[in-house]
Symmetry: C2
């Protein structure tokens, strides 16, 4: 049984503002729950159907409540509520700029669509990328829609929201390459690519912003086929990101 | 001014059943409208704000109606209605199996998510793929959400819904290669790839179905990084499709 105050508290976490204040985010569904829990994220509250607790036990640091289908419907953000809704602590990974010298990382420049962000994180995980940096205006990774779309990748990667100018000044001070895809640039299939640095993915509508473009040290082009075909629109940002990551990894 | 019957008619086209009967689909927004119109698709009905008609004239074969913002809101499927809602004829491209011998085509095996289908079509267009075949259970390309997500690619490609067994029997009779991505297969980066044939993309949850797998002649693997890393979930189907198309095109 959930108190009115608890329901109100859970609903408040739909908003980034309250997630930031409380340091908590909402997770729904057994599969996502298990991936985050087994991935080592700290759960603080679990509301679930009685059956869920037959297979999931928690120590006393976790507040647990058996609820009915009807109660779950009241707090759920999903069209079809699952069997569990939990609150997890937002992880606070520590940042190590020198570590970035030996690996590929992503920078997301104002990605707006939760589905795109989720897909990008899954792809980044597939290609062994550990650190993802986001501009302040990028959609919040702890937005419930993103949490559902990442399929657990969220627990296995470090995600940072950083101020662009400060971040890229640090990157430039360390002479790290910064890659960006543009409609004119070196053909990515034949370009010489270092196996470390920052890959920038731009906003869905406006691409890489001017304030970040000035830090890009290698401009890359994903060629359309046949080359210079007319009428071709553009690639979805998650797709472009995947092709870039794939091409970096193919070389190694 | 729209009659009640017209409003009812437009609403009915949200359903595939009525789109199939009428041979019409809904298009919203100036950008999508223009891409489809300029792409040569036949428009039969245009309801728009007065301003729209200042820049768009139509001959007498097109039924046009000036409407108010309020009326547009009533018929729109969008959260934020645009300035135009139009009905276009569903194109009926003709199929030529022998043409497929010299080009890459896609087969979509029960893709369910409208956003994924839209992204796949945009990617296919980027990589110069002209023909996309869909299993009967794949989400309808004339679903309004897909129309919005394709950004006009829909006007510049041929999309066919075909019965799997019949289609792939024809393909096999012509000795065309059929490619599919699996979790075990030849490393796609080093595999010998013919530059023609059918690339199969599987359902979001269950991958390539058994009834189609038996027709696959080359099993490909997109390697994760570092190879055989644990914990990695899977790639989104639109992302996997993009990486496969990119790798085929890189070779040429």
């Amino acid at each position: 049984m959930l108190s009115k105050n608890k329901i109100k508290f859970i609903h408040s976490l739909k908003l980034k503002k309250y997630r930031d204040i409380q340091g908590l985010f909402i997770v729904e569904g057994r599969k996502t729950f298990e991936e985050l829990f087994e991935g080592g994220l700290k759960v603080v509250f679990v509301a679930a159907l009685p059956l869920f607790f037959d297979t999931h036990q928690f120590d006393s640091s976790v507040e647990t409540t058996e609820i009915s289908n009807e109660e779950l419907r009241k707090i759920s953000l999903l069209v079809t509520p699952a069997d569990v809704l939990a609150l997890f602590e937002i992880p606070k990974p520590s940042m190590n700029f020198d570590e970035l010298k030996t690996q590929l990382s992503l920078f997301l420049d104002d990605i707006q669509n939760p589905g795109n962000l989720g897909t990008i994180l899954r792809t980044a995980e597939w290609f062994g990328i550990k650190n993802v940096f986001c501009s302040p205006a990028t959609v919040d990774i702890y937005n419930p829609k993103v949490v559902q779309a990442t399929m657990g990748a969220i627990a296995r990667m470090n995600v940072f929201y950083v101020e662009e100018e400060i971040f890229f000044t640090e990157i430039r001070n360390r002479n790290l390459p910064v890659f960006g895809a543009f409609l004119e640039g070196e053909n990515i299939y034949s370009a010489i690519l270092e196996n470390a640095g920052i890959i920038v993915l731009g906003n869905e509508g406006s691409g890489i912003s001017a304030k970040i473009e000035k830090f890009v040290s290698q401009r890359l082009l994903i060629p359309s086929y046949p080359q210079n075909a007319e009428s071709v629109e553009s690639l979805n940002v998650a797709v472009a990101g995947a092709i870039i990551c794939s091409e970096f990894r193919r070389r190694n």
